[in-house]
């Protein structure tokens, strides 16, 4: 029976609401596929750990990492680290957005300015945010700020570039309509350009969230005294590989949740903006 369900799930089933028991089963199987992928990942991890290829210090099993998480949860050190990471992430990300979006609007609206700025951005962008770290320490001192600076840099470029291209791609007919109805220059930005560009800006902001979260760990590993990145460095110093893997898994899981959350928000906004024709009268 279950074998049949698996084989039935394999060929692409025609779209449409499931009607009979068999297609319901297929639909259920499809819903479980993402979890199956994750389960496979953990299984491979487990088998690798159990294979004896590495010692348990080199590669702890998933259950060891789970035990480690219980340990840091019980002694109360986990949540402050998570909290510190989230706070850094949020402040750096919001700061990046607050700078990148207005700057992107300006560059988008002034083609000559963008002609000058574009090569600057393209030269700076390939420099890994981590490469800024030594300078960030020199300029900002040791502590929170260098880590925040790295996350800032990571989030800045996707947010900026998405905003510029969003403004460039505003449908010219929207601007014609605006001019036709006598829209004044100072009204144009907020009444037409920003709302018209918004869906694409939002997409860039989502990319920026991902980038910011990726570089959070790097930033915290380099200088911070708290956070998930620090937890990894600290665990390394004590050769607690189980804690390292636990922290890595947690970084992945939180990143996943954040991305899903932002994607959800994006869909909601897109629907409002009339881009996703979900609800029909």
């Amino acid at each position: 029976m279950s074998a049949e369900a698996v084989t039935a799930a394999r060929p692409p089933t025609p779209a449409g609401p499931p009607t009979d028991a068999r297609s319901l089963l297929v639909a259920a199987a499809r819903r479980l596929l993402p979890f199956a992928g994750l389960a496979l990942l953990v299984l491979v991890w487990h088998l690798l750990a159990a294979s004896g290829l590495y010692t348990s210090e080199q590669l702890p099993a998933p259950l060891d990492a789970l035990r480690a998480s219980r340990e840091v949860w019980r002694d109360g050190s986990l949540l402050p680290h998570v909290g510190a990471s989230l706070a850094r992430f949020a402040s750096a990300y919001l700061a990046a957005v607050a700078v990148a979006v207005p700057l992107g609007l300006l560059f988008g609206l002034r083609p000559s300015l963008w002609k000058a700025a574009d090569p600057v951005i393209q030269v700076l962008r390939p420099i890994s945010p981590v490469a800024w770290f030594p300078l960030a320490v020199l300029w900002l001192g040791i502590g929170n700020l260098p880590a925040i600076a790295i996350i800032f840099v990571a989030a800045f470029y996707p947010a900026l570039l998405a905003t510029v291209s969003a403004v460039h791609r505003v449908d010219p007919v929207y601007l014609r309509v605006a001019r036709n109805f006598g829209t004044r220059d100072h009204q144009l930005l907020l009444k037409v350009i920003v709302p018209a560009a918004f869906p694409q800006i939002a997409m860039g902001l989502r990319l920026a969230v991902g980038a910011a979260w990726v570089y959070l760990v790097a930033g915290e590993m380099l200088g911070a005294r708290s956070g998930l990145g620090f937890l990894i460095v600290d665990a390394r110093n004590f050769l607690r590989t189980d804690l390292i893997l636990m922290a890595m898994a947690l970084v992945g899981a939180i990143g996943f949740v954040i991305d899903r959350g932002v994607a959800f928000l994006e869909r909601r906004l897109d629907a409002r903006w009339g881009l996703a024709p979900e609800e029909h009268p």
Binding site: V173, Y174, R179, F181, T183, F198, R272, G274, L275
Partner: protein
């Protein structure tokens, strides 16, 4: 007839590829419904853009109410084939737009917008967003948005070109009714012969490369018009003939095998 609402005096619009419009002259009295008819590339849209103020003639003049057109103005509202509604605004918000940028107070513009939504038969849809409406309904919203600022003239660029045949007929009825009731001057670009015969007081048949007037055909049919009576069909045949669609051996009065498309 009153003074010319729109007068185009020997307007030429030259692009690198050639003359989109050459030495074009036309007088449109206030309240007249003029259809610009012709194949693509005959300069219909170019002409509309000149009158709208989106474009300037290379030579010649475009006058509206006796004054040269300097740029777009709410007294001449364009209606586009793509509706060009703002997707982030509700239907009501779209219709209010022109009044909003003009600084009309919220309750006042709301009242006006609702009145025009009633006029186009969409009073129940003010809270919807454009993407929730069919193409025909979206074009009605665009029409209400245009009428809400009480323009002298409407410049319609193949407004029903993207709609299915039945919806198009309904909207033609609507536009004919509104044009009469509100006595707007209308320039209406189309390549649909029947549409032009149904709507226009005068049909300006245009020819391409360079864009120019081939012939101006008066439409003396009484309003409201009937698409199936003999006078209508005869005139339609005449316009088709003018465009080079000739059916040898086919008497004008029983011509129900006219092709849908033009060369």
């Amino acid at each position: 007839m009153s003074a010319a609402a729109i007068s185009i005096e020997q307007a030429t619009r030259r692009y690198r590829g050639g003359d989109a419009l050459l030495d074009f002259s036309l007088e449109v009295p206030a309240g007249e419904f003029v259809c610009l008819l012709g194949p693509s590339g005959c300069g219909k849209t170019t002409l509309l853009n000149l009158v709208a103020g989106f474009d300037r003639p290379t030579s010649g003049r475009v006058l509206v109410q006796g004054r040269p057109v300097e740029g777009p103005d709410p007294s001449r509202i364009c209606i586009f084939q793509s509706y060009a509604l703002y997707p982030w605004r509700t239907v009501l918000g779209n219709v209010e737009y022109g009044l909003e940028v003009r600084g009309v107070s919220r309750p006042q513009r709301r009242a006006v917008a609702e009145e025009y939504l009633r006029l186009v038969g969409l009073e129940g849809f003010s809270r919807h967003h454009p993407h929730q409406l069919s193409g025909g309904m979206q074009q009605r919203v665009a029409l209400a948005r245009a009428l809400a600022v009480d323009p002298e003239s409407l410049l319609m660029d193949e407004p029903f070109g993207a709609l299915d045949a039945l919806t198009r007929i309904r909207l033609q009825d609507e536009v004919a009714r509104i044009a009469r009731a509100r006595s707007k001057t209308i320039l209406f670009v189309t390549h649909d012969v029947e549409e032009s015969v149904f709507l226009a007081d005068r049909i300006v048949v245009m020819a391409p490369s360079p864009g120019r007037i081939q012939r101006i055909i008066e439409v003396p049919l009484k309003r409201p018009r009937c698409r199936t009576n003999d006078g209508f069909i005869a005139l339609r045949a005449e316009v088709l003939h003018e465009l080079g669609v000739v059916h040898p051996g086919e008497p004008l009065r029983t011509s129900h095998h006219l092709p849908e498309s033009m060369p």
